[in-house]
């Protein structure tokens, strides 16, 4: 089957700040969030911009002609050259798992049923499948204070249950406790997800994910993504006095390191068909590497915004 789309997975290696302008509250520089859900995301325009830069700086990977056809060409201003739209269309990067401090296991990769529903919808649109996701959506009906974990989870500890003498699997996220259940359907899905997000040889990252992933209710997830982002106070030093400049204290909000997002890249074949590219370049999506290290958002010079991007293509369900 002809494939005209891929799913990309973004793994934040360092905190990421794609800003939403200046805030009016305690956070001076908030990160961008979805209008209705208030979940953090990365706009498709940012994803496309850094990909254009990636291909422009990797001359061995692509030509100028590829960059212009894949990402668009600005008009030169003359009547005969009106510019061209890019053939690659990139969706917003939506949140898939959000890291939250855990009492056991250091931190957890937290997700929720609504995230999985949106993922399922996007996978269906791209003709991709992810083993186990149907079972979770069909069978799981989470209560407010329960959570599903992988069978190899390192997040659990034993706490006294309501019946005297009994103990239950419990996990502690931020300041909240959840009753945990090792769920086979969730285990199947989380194992396949780990293989898709991380390269085949990166078993350490895969294990980190499966040992720490947890499915909580939508309401709990809402709390974590809105209240547990990374807030960094920043100052600016006066170069002469070596003290803090007047009024130069501000707070920045970051999507924490270890957050994982996903999105879709679609190739408009009607635009790529007009290309003057050589045969080997004709499938624009085939130029995407298996994985790319990109820098997204602000404050690159202080180590922010480094992400690992994996591309799942050709219906690649593992």
């Amino acid at each position: 089957m002809k494939t005209d789309n891929v799913i990309y997975m973004l793994h934040c290696m360092t905190p990421v700040h794609v800003g939403a302008g200046q805030g009016v509250g305690a956070i001076d520089m908030p990160m961008i969030r979805e209008k209705v859900t208030q979940w953090p995301y990365i706009p498709g325009s940012s994803i496309k911009g850094v990909h254009r830069d990636y291909f422009r700086n990797n001359a061995g990977l692509s030509s100028d002609a590829y960059v212009n056809i894949a990402f668009g060409k600005e008009s030169s201003g003359s009547d005969t050259d009106g510019g061209a739209a890019g053939a690659l269309v990139m969706s917003d990067a939506r949140i898939l798992v959000f890291p939250v401090a855990s009492g056991h296991g250091t931190f957890a990769y937290v997700t929720c049923p609504l995230v999985l529903k949106r993922l399922h919808r996007d996978l269906k649109a791209t003709h991709m499948d992810m083993p186990g996701i149907h079972n979770i959506l069909d069978k799981v009906n989470l209560l407010q204070k329960t959570a599903l974990v992988h069978e190899d989870s390192k997040l659990l500890f034993q706490a006294e249950g309501t019946n005297s003498g009994s103990s239950t699997d419990t996990l502690s996220l931020d300041e909240f406790k959840f009753e945990a259940e090792k769920n086979p359907e969730f285990t199947e899905w989380a194992s396949s997800l780990a293989k898709q997000i991380f390269p085949e040889d990166d078993t350490i990252s895969q294990t980190m994910l499966t040992e720490r992933i947890v499915l909580v209710s939508d309401e709990a997830f809402q709390y974590f993504v809105t209240m547990c982002s990374e807030i960094v106070p920043r100052i600016r030093m006066d170069t002469n006095t070596k003290t803090v400049g007047q009024g130069a204290l501000w707070n920045e909000e970051y999507l924490p390191a270890e957050a994982i997002l996903y999105g879709i890249i679609w190739c408009d074949t009607s635009l790529s068909g007009k290309s003057s590219l050589k045969n080997q370049d004709e499938n624009l999506l085939s130029k995407l590497p298996d994985q790319a290290f990109l820098q997204i958002g602000g404050n690159a010079t202080v180590g922010k915004g480094r992400v690992r991007c994996n591309y799942i293509q050709r219906g690649a369900a593992k």
Partner: protein
């Protein structure tokens, strides 16, 4: 062959209005409040154009008047879960609770037939008063006596089940208030959908040499945020020379900034044809009124914005506001009209400014004022068979042809109409 397509947007959508968006610092690209039929029709034709290119059929695909540009598309309607939704009809008004605090106040907007009471009632507005152009033809409408504040966030879309009951003239003010109150507290009821919120994104252009924001290149874009499960439904008919080899099931960009949407063909097992067929309940209601009442009254509620050659008045009405021979479906040119209608009143909110982009001419289309979706036209049936008329004209385009040949409003699905019955309101003196 006819195809019904479900369009599931995957990202917020930008449906551009006609305002310019160029290289000006601080410029903002605005979005309309809803998805216009032209965007749906244009996108579906782009999909078909790709099919033609793949099949290597020798047809001009990107020129004005090409066969592809005249493929008839109907839509969009909306679906959420299993239910179809229509734009909210404007002949019912919702107001903030009054002093008694009994919940939202509902007022049904209905013309009053008894002309002899009009002077006593003090009417003289909305085109039906002493100086109105059509005062001898239109009937006045009864309005709330007290000044009421419109409901802050009224429903914007109504489920097909409730709409059918409304078109059968079955709902009274109390039932409406209950429905709106139960929906308003949680927004979870399946009866309504609220207006789509808009998000604003701020963008900068990055200089590729310095990696800093380019000077004076800060701009913003506005998008519609749709509920996660909301889809659009549209229908089109392919000509004989273009039979699709397989069902449509793919991604395609939709609207401004090329946001992605999933296009999937609905099959007969999805009851796709039921969406476009007039419900039996409405036909029975029309029939019942025809048999039991002396006069039949039909209501036309627009499901999509309509272009009318006389502004808010359809071009198929003459100077007496009576329908002419133009009131017929395009493929029934030879047949006499099924009914003769006379306009008695209309609820038409502020016009929609609708534009578009012409890929053929490579320039924006002219901005035109259209009667918005949800507009309601009240007709009296003077002669003919209203049951057969409603059956045939259900969700058909009632738009007029634009004298400029650049527009294909009927083919694009502008002016799709649902039909129902209404009963003239009694004046207060009669009801006392």
């Amino acid at each position: 062959m006819e195809h019904t397509i479900k369009i599931q947007p995957l990202d917020p959508l930008m449906i551009r209005d006609g305002r310019p968006f160029g290289k000006t610092a601080g410029a903002r690209a605005h979005t309309l409040d809803t998805v216009t039929p032209g965007v749906v029709a244009g996108t579906l034709r782009s999909l078909l154009r790709q099919e033609i290119l793949n099949k290597d059929i020798s047809v001009s695909t990107n020129k004005k008047g090409s066969p592809v540009s005249q493929i008839t598309v109907r839509g969009p309607l909306y679906t959420l879960g299993e239910s179809v939704y229509f734009p909210m009809p404007q002949d019912v008004g919702f107001y903030e609770p009054d002093a008694s605090d009994q919940g939202a106040v509902t007022f049904l907007r209905r013309p009053v037939e008894e002309k002899e009471h009009q002077d006593e009632m003090g009417f003289g507005f909305l085109g039906t008063g002493v100086t109105g152009l059509h005062e001898d033809k239109l009937w006045p409408v009864q309005m709330p006596v007290e000044l009421l504040k419109p409901l802050k966030s009224p429903p914007a879309y109504i489920s097909a089940d409730l709409m059918i009951r409304w078109l059968c003239d079955e709902l009274n003010e109390e039932q409406w208030s209950k429905k709106v109150d139960s929906w308003g507290s949680t927004k979870q009821s399946s009866s309504f959908i609220e207006a789509f919120p808009k998000e604003i994104r701020t963008h900068t252009a990055i200089d590729e040499t310095t990696y800093t924001a380019k000077d004076k290149q800060l701009f913003s874009t506005e998008s519609l945020v749709l509920p996660p499960d909301l889809s659009f439904i549209a229908k089109f008919k392919t000509p004989e020379w273009l039979e699709l080899t397989k069902d449509i099931n793919q991604l395609h960009s939709f609207g401004g900034k090329r946001r992605l949407a999933h296009f999937q063909e609905l099959t007969s097992t999805d009851c796709s044809e039921d969406i476009w067929t007039c419900p039996d309940a409405i036909l029975q209601a029309v029939e019942k009124q025809t048999v039991t009442q002396q006069t039949t009254y039909l209501r036309m509620v627009l499901a999509t914005p309509a272009f009318f050659s006389k502004g808010w008045i359809p071009g198929w009405l003459d100077e007496h506001l009576e329908s002419t021979d133009k009131l017929k479906l395009d493929h029934q040119e030879q047949c006499p009209p099924l009914v003769k209608l006379k306009l008695r009143w209309a609820c038409v909110p502020h016009w929609n400014a609708v534009s578009g982009w012409s890929y053929g001419a490579k320039k924006p289309k002219a901005v035109r004022r259209m009667a918005p979706a949800g507009s309601v036209y009240f007709f009296e049936v003077l002669e003919g068979d209203p049951v057969e008329f409603v059956r045939k004209f259900w969700l058909q385009s009632m738009s007029d042809r634009d004298r400029r040949l650049a527009f294909f409003d009927k083919e694009d699905g502008y002016g799709l109409a649902t039909w129902g019955i209404w009963t003239p309101q009694k004046s207060k003196e009669d009801t006392q």
